[in-house]
Symmetry: D2
Amino acid sequence: MLAVTSQGPELISVEDVPKPGLEVNTDAIVRITTSALCGTDMHVYHHKIPNVPAGWIVGHEFCGVVEDIGDAVTGFKPGDRVVSSMYVACGRCPACVAGDHRRCKDFQMFGMGAAFGNLPGGQAEYVRVPLADMTLRAIPQDLSDESTIFTGDILATAFTALRQSGIVEGDTIAIVGAGPVGELLAMCAPIFGAGQVYVIDIVPERLESVKKFGATTIDPREQDPRKLIKEQTGGLMCDAVFEAAGNEPAMKTAFSLPRPNGAVVLVGMLVNEHFPLTAGDLWLRNTKVIPVLGAPYSHRDELLKLIAAGKIDAAQIITDRIPLSGAAEAYAAFDRKELQKAIFEVGS
Amino acid sequence: MLAVTSQGPELISVEDVPKPGLEVNTDAIVRITTSALCGTDMHVYHHKIPNVPAGWIVGHEFCGVVEDIGDAVTGFKPGDRVVSSMYVACGRCPACVAGDHRRCKDFQMFGMGAAFGNLPGGQAEYVRVPLADMTLRAIPQDLSDESTIFTGDILATAFTALRQSGIVEGDTIAIVGAGPVGELLAMCAPIFGAGQVYVIDIVPERLESVKKFGATTIDPREQDPRKLIKEQTGGLMCDAVFEAAGNEPAMKTAFSLPRPNGAVVLVGMLVNEHFPLTAGDLWLRNTKVIPVLGAPYSHRDELLKLIAAGKIDAAQIITDRIPLSGAAEAYAAFDRKELQKAIFEVGS
Amino acid sequence: MLAVTSQGPELISVEDVPKPGLEVNTDAIVRITTSALCGTDMHVYHHKIPNVPAGWIVGHEFCGVVEDIGDAVTGFKPGDRVVSSMYVACGRCPACVAGDHRRCKDFQMFGMGAAFGNLPGGQAEYVRVPLADMTLRAIPQDLSDESTIFTGDILATAFTALRQSGIVEGDTIAIVGAGPVGELLAMCAPIFGAGQVYVIDIVPERLESVKKFGATTIDPREQDPRKLIKEQTGGLMCDAVFEAAGNEPAMKTAFSLPRPNGAVVLVGMLVNEHFPLTAGDLWLRNTKVIPVLGAPYSHRDELLKLIAAGKIDAAQIITDRIPLSGAAEAYAAFDRKELQKAIFEVGS
Amino acid sequence: MLAVTSQGPELISVEDVPKPGLEVNTDAIVRITTSALCGTDMHVYHHKIPNVPAGWIVGHEFCGVVEDIGDAVTGFKPGDRVVSSMYVACGRCPACVAGDHRRCKDFQMFGMGAAFGNLPGGQAEYVRVPLADMTLRAIPQDLSDESTIFTGDILATAFTALRQSGIVEGDTIAIVGAGPVGELLAMCAPIFGAGQVYVIDIVPERLESVKKFGATTIDPREQDPRKLIKEQTGGLMCDAVFEAAGNEPAMKTAFSLPRPNGAVVLVGMLVNEHFPLTAGDLWLRNTKVIPVLGAPYSHRDELLKLIAAGKIDAAQIITDRIPLSGAAEAYAAFDRKELQKAIFEVGS
């Protein structure tokens, strides 16, 4: 089968590799129909993650059709259309029962190498899915791959961030960074009852794109976000601010916007970035800091109900549709920030 | 000044009465511009509430302009446009600090007679408002009386019901009864993230009206609500059901719709109605029962932000606009259920 | 092996039956060391539950030692001391992930007959435990069977009730009925921060027993609970009341004690009992009703940490220790209310 | 009357000053019986707070007896024993109604100079208390000043920190710093259901003192806190860590102890301290940061119920009882860390 593989830092190639088979009775084999290219994949691309062997299959957001199931799989049968979680956890240990699946002792993530449980990824024609009854969810009838694929990762991340932010209906929020996650935050903010929603970015197309969700947009090169929000809120500022860019300038903006006793939610992938303020300042301003890692197991069932009810359509964020054979070029273009959110149309 | 007064059971007349003045330094006098006719007023109309003297001024939902203020009022000045809460509480005792204003030892409700603190109502040209800094809120610039008036009572009631129901984003709900409160529940459900929203009523116009909020409507004379919802939810049923009609048939329907471990929220005014099931059945079905009294003090600030942000426009539920002089006829028509939600345009 | 079996209504006998073996690779076989006699077993005893065949093995609270495991069991090995949940659910479907394990499509309960998944019970020398990694938990070193056995059922029920009641630190509560669950409510109330705790019962020994947990006791034949609590709380009454007796007089007392906007939590097993008040009264008093079914999967990990930290010792409620051979007599005595909380010491 | 006054940096003297009188009709005059010396007073002592004029009366934790009341005070009468909140807020604006009293536009704090509303403090024989019905609470009969005085500040701070930490019953916590606030955290942890409680400090007497609350103590010069907690929790680490020392070494320890998706609560007063880790590290470790400012208005009613019920006795933290005349010496000794928690016995 064809698969997108990492052959070394910045070396992506589409290779013909052996098709996976069932290993244990809780596995399923899924024939992939749609796979997405995610910011996290860039960590594998640049080999910032340890232990990515040559030939490693990348990718962790995907939909497809069940091809084969182990004896113990009861929730699916061959032919079922499914969307996968980006990770696998047992569902039964204390951490999982408490809803903290990333602390499962058997935690694995698709396509991230040996450091994440050695589970080949989903930018391929087929993938082996462990604990299929837990990891997969049926795509509701009449819904497309494109509408549901992001429940396995970035839509769940945006949803988790909004849930963990502690906002209540009527609250004012700001989103710093209108990339895919920022855009999904703006899309989901109304279902969390956000009143005024500000989105801050320097790319005009991105700002334009979030206006359809009712957001007020700010280009910080044209207007000072703090000053504008202060004016428009009568000095009340934001109840919660979402840092969805993952860099120090964005963090600096983010920490300037919450009200006393408000929150900054860190959704963007951060690596070595420093805080733009001291712990003393944070305490005096009384600003909570809430780092968020997406929790698809906890939230995709809610998301699928919202999608089925027509309240969210995450397909709107897709900007590029690419055949699997174009993966090497897509990775390079994504790294140059020429793509916003691309999917691979597999087997089409 | 003109005022709508109760002269006895089913006897409403508009009378010329003395204009109220300031009594203590925390009072304000408000010149009323808009006043609403509420289901609760029917209890006064029928003298179901004890101690309503002849000549009593009715009404508890109103907007207006500040005419005069006591020395201790700091939040308002003459000329400010304001909307009032239906009740008055001190904000400072343990019950108030805990957000439970109805348990304030100084609790008063406008227009409900001696049993509710002897506070004349707001269907009049002027009204004295105690604890003005607490009881009034400024109408945000550019917003109309009609958009904001219900933050003082029934919009807050719908909001309180949704908040107390414990629903989370994606949940399926049903609303039994599409009167004014039912309609506001349907309007607000999306800002609480409701996925599928069912509204059940037997009046075709009411069902038609809630469709604009994305609700699925059911006329129980045409379709069995339980059967339909069971089919459409794949047997999962409703996470929460709102009984907004206040009668036994509606309660019977309501209790047939929640999932195990779901909730029935009692929003409709109940008096002598019995439960349609035993405590044993309730326990076996594991259904929570949540009676709701509206809490405008707790929720109108959130609501005003949502209204200002364009997320809610409660003016949509107004069906009739009547001069104050037409009050007697309006009460009679409302009692015959010929009006749905009427307002008095005062002084116009 | 020996097992306690139901041979018909009110017919319990200890029989020699075949020892169970592994059926699927997620099973474990547990050699039971301690098993408890629970109020729920009385429903089987009286055949109030449908489809209990002759020879059915009863019991759902038990501890033991792992004897054998299926290939897919990773959390336990033979020789491990374990305590079981009273029920089995998959941990992976939407209901389970949402923490609502009783709605799992594969829900089973030990010892309750065909209507509850046909899973033989734990009043026996051995038991087959499905989904062992989910259903069992290790008994922490140095802890006894007696301290931990109730995490699988009634201790979790008391904990669930306190959690679902919504009480906050400082709240005043009342517990109506000081049987095993009532006693555990009184034991756990301090870890939920309850301020004043009232316990109401007519059995002097039961009242005496809860005093060690700091409860104020009331015998309703000597003092009127409502009057006494009204006096002692300055009229504030109870934030939450727990009905833990399961009968109409207890419910009548329970519904007389909450404050406006307070809660009555129904913990006792109810069957045909009616409400002691109308829906209208409930609405006017603004009393929430919260029926509770225990949720051991959701709470035993928390409970085991509390037990290991010395904050709870549920062994204190055990009143009788009986060999398995004495089961028939024990059931009869329990039915006559001569036993409060008995355990079977199996294989000793 | 006698009053403790600041005459300049590190210059405290007890002076004879005019007795305060009522200014508006919501004021009360309180004859002080007990006043406490708090870490926050050190900011005034060192003039780290701007705008502290010479002769300024210090102090914000105090109890006393009502001497006189304004016409609008309804909750108290002369002779009532009362405890005060450290701050004053209106209770009626949107911020106050939302429970965020520090954002009240009329916020004042006793004894902190012009920057905090110019309200003379409570280390004096008499004090004027604005908004007496909100700011004061009655001391329940049979309770002492010493048991209740800290509900106005540091006991409320510890309580707020535990509430905001989000811990649930059974959780493992660590407290870094066993000064007065750390000690109160250890005292209150059981009423929030904490399972294992670790307290870390280098002063043996402090560690000894918290053992009575069931805490496990760690002197970091003898044992590595992270290593020890890792061993004892089987690698699970702490659900929440409370930094109650307010310095960088304590913060470094604190940030080494939470589990992934755990929290560090900043309770200690921080000024210029830096974070001991980058934002990138914080995100990768998924650690929430929750700065806490005490909220006595929100929590003292709950605390007074807990004290009355015998669940907390904060008098246990008092180490020194000093006459008001000894204030200058007490400030200097406290600054040299020779006092832990001192109170002034006023008028005795």
